[in-house]
Amino acid sequence: MFKSKSALVIAIVILGVSVFAMFFQIPYAQTSPTIVAYKVVGTSNLGNPGSESFWSKIPWVNLSLTANIPNAPTSGLVKYVLVKAAWNGTDLFILEEWQSPSPAYGAWSDSAAAIYPEATGPDTFRIIELTPGVTYKLLTNYTNYVSIINGKTETGRLLLNYSGITLPLPNDTQIQTLPNGTILLYHSPRPLEDLLYSDGMFYGYYVNSTWYYPDRAAIMWYLGTGVPSQDCMNLGGKVPDQTYDGFTLKYAGGSMAESGIATNIWMWVTGATWNSTNDPAFKVNLWQNTSLTGLSYTDPHNHGFAVPLYSNNTNLYEVDTAGIWYTPVKSSGLNGSLFYIWTGATWENGTWVLEWVYPLNVPSDYLPYFVNITANKIYYVAFAVWQGTEGETAFDKSISPSFVTLELVNQAPPTSTTTSTTSPMVSTTSPATTTIVEIPFTDIVVTIAGVIVAIVAVAILALLYRK
């Protein structure tokens, strides 16, 4: 078959190495974009995030975001987020900026409101819009069920039907039909999100001028030594194998999908952790009241913060003992953990600017659940953003499609000429921000140097093979 022995040998070697690669990782050279946290002198100013002088020297990294729910028109509305990072030896600073035409002022976190009803705003709610074409029927033989249809309580169980796929709904489910036939389903329990999504009935979240979710941002840190392949979280119930209205849900909602991995997530939400009078929880001083939070400590200096979360294949946990949003990871200890990550945020001219501050000297009892960050080591991070007024709610959000790498380096930031300008849009009621990102000087030098090296390589080749 092979006249040339060398061809046979080469084919065997290629196949052999490829089979080897199935079981042992071959380190191919990568081109991944990296967020570099430069060493700076200075500290944060959370009252005016992004104003610190060191930020002007650091270029933005533009991370494209994608829809978490591909078929939902309310998912993936934030197309990109700009990120930069720095550290001063004791704290890590991360600055984020993303476009958001109308901020979710006054929106409230139902978890915070659950411990203090005063921490609410007007009418905000989570309402699921069902896929166009979904119909409903009331099964009146379920006499022990009640359903609320268009504000009227009726005896019977609701049954949804989408192209022949049927889904019976739990007791006390509330729906409303709009004049165009759209069905709205009130509340959004995690198991029901999973069931509706799996049956293609979840279209998106319904919003109008008063019904919307808070704006939210999150950073996910991979806790592990290998390279994670995906940042996806499972849909599911409150706990694994939860039985919900006759259905068994395999996963816990928010648990990590990739087998064997764990993550630390920082969650900032305008309805609870944003130090502003537009935040209902801060407005009523919720975080200073230990009898309401159930914690033995309060928010020091009443600053904005990010809720620390921990997710593994089992569940999504809140890293404190109160469990205001999710199941608490521990029942004791973790003193101060809820307010460990500081944040500051401002919204101006259609753009959110959010700064995160993470003290690097993490207390040892936090460490299994918090990321331990040191210099000159690669960390895998993922970003998510929610625009509440546009419908991005709960699991429906804009996410970076995979982990990107972040590293703290000992170098000072390069000289950058990044600028940002604001210009009002003609004929619209809301101003728009245009961010002009000029190429940093170092990038111009790198480009020119890269091209020169290529030309030199080609010239040497031409010299070697000239006739």
């Binding site: 690669a21 191919y28 050279a29 990109y80 996410i399």
Partner: protein
């Protein structure tokens, strides 16, 4: 030992094609979907096949570039990059250094030089019509290089209709396929007829998307995620699916007609090239397009190649 002969080229190009297809199906086809909240059964096992496909593509690419260096000298540099870049990973955190950023630019620029050298060889050997028909493909690769450059340098996103560039490229290569060799012969007719399978294979998806808005919305997200062909107009998904059908038809027809090298070269060029829209990920993928383009030279300059 001179291993750079037709037989080595033939087997390594075959392995390259096999690697491209396996990595496309098990690697890109699954990895980019993994951000969706859909459990992918046995994803870890499928990832093993993806590693196999990528290794097959990588190592056969080294051999192909070494053999092709007899034709286009730039391939000497490509094989050097492929072999050398395996060692760079010994330096921890190499990819966050400015030096590596510079090397990435060098590699991309060498890719452009490679496209130029192949085009020069076509013109030098009076293959004017082929040059014209392949020029949309060259333009597509140049656009993709700029897209990757803008991503790596964090410049504003390139808003351009990739679908139109892709369509122009495949129409050019389709005409090239028809004109290559004998337009009408028993083998040509068989090629034109059998390759219809490649086009027909996408039709169920086309009709599904055409008639079902729900699936159209899903495919608007899924297909660009898997293939890298970003759509700025979501209603273009139908024409994009038909374009994929045309690509499969062209690749099959070219192979059955007898230009097996160009067929695999074109497929590898497109699959690797569209990784540019997410930053290429791997250095090796940056130099696949010029190597794929070089494979058109094999039959074009058949009478002049001395292996």
């Amino acid at each position: 030992m001179e291993f750079r002969n037709y037989e080595t080229l033939k087997i390594s190009v075959f392995l390259l094609g096999l690697g491209v297809v396996i990595y496309l199906v098990f690697g890109e086809g699954i990895a980019y979907l993994s951000s969706l909240p859909v459990p992918i059964p046995h994803a870890n096992i499928l990832a093993v096949f993806s590693s196999f496909g990528f290794a097959l593509e990588y190592f056969s690419l080294i051999v192909v570039s070494l053999v092709l260096s007899k034709l286009a000298k730039i391939n000497y540099i490509y094989s050097g990059i492929l072999i050398g870049s395996l060692l760079i990973t010994l330096i921890p955190g190499y990819y966050s250094t400015t030096l590596w950023l510079g090397f990435t630019i060098t590699t991309m620029f060498l890719g452009v030089v490679g496209l130029g050298e192949v085009t020069y060889l076509l013109i030098k050997n009076k293959r004017y019509l082929s040059t014209v028909l392949l020029s949309p493909t060259v333009a597509l690769v140049l656009v993709l290089y700029y897209t990757a450059y803008s991503l790596i340098m964090h410049l504003p996103a390139v808003i351009i209709s990739y679908k139109d560039f892709l369509l122009a490229s495949v129409i050019g290569v389709l005409i090239y396929t028809i004109l290559w060799g004998k337009i009408f012969s028993r083998r040509s007719i068989v090629a034109y007829t059998l390759s219809i399978v490649g086009f027909v294979i996408v039709l169920p998806l086309y009709f599904l998307v055409l008639k079902n808005r729900f699936l159209e919305i899903i495919m608007d997200m899924v297909i660009p995620s898997v293939t890298g062909v970003i759509l700025f107009n979501p209603y273009s998904i139908t024409i994009l699916i038909l374009t994929f059908g045309l690509i499969l038809y062209t690749v099959l027809a070219l192979a059955i007609k007898g230009n097996y090298y160009a067929s695999i070269g074109y497929l590898a060029l497109l699959v690797a090239g569209f990784n540019a829209t997410s930053g290429f990920h791997f250095i090796s993928l940056m130099i696949v397009p010029p190597i794929g383009y070089s494979l058109f030279l094999i039959k074009e300059l058949q009478d002049k190649i001395k292996f």
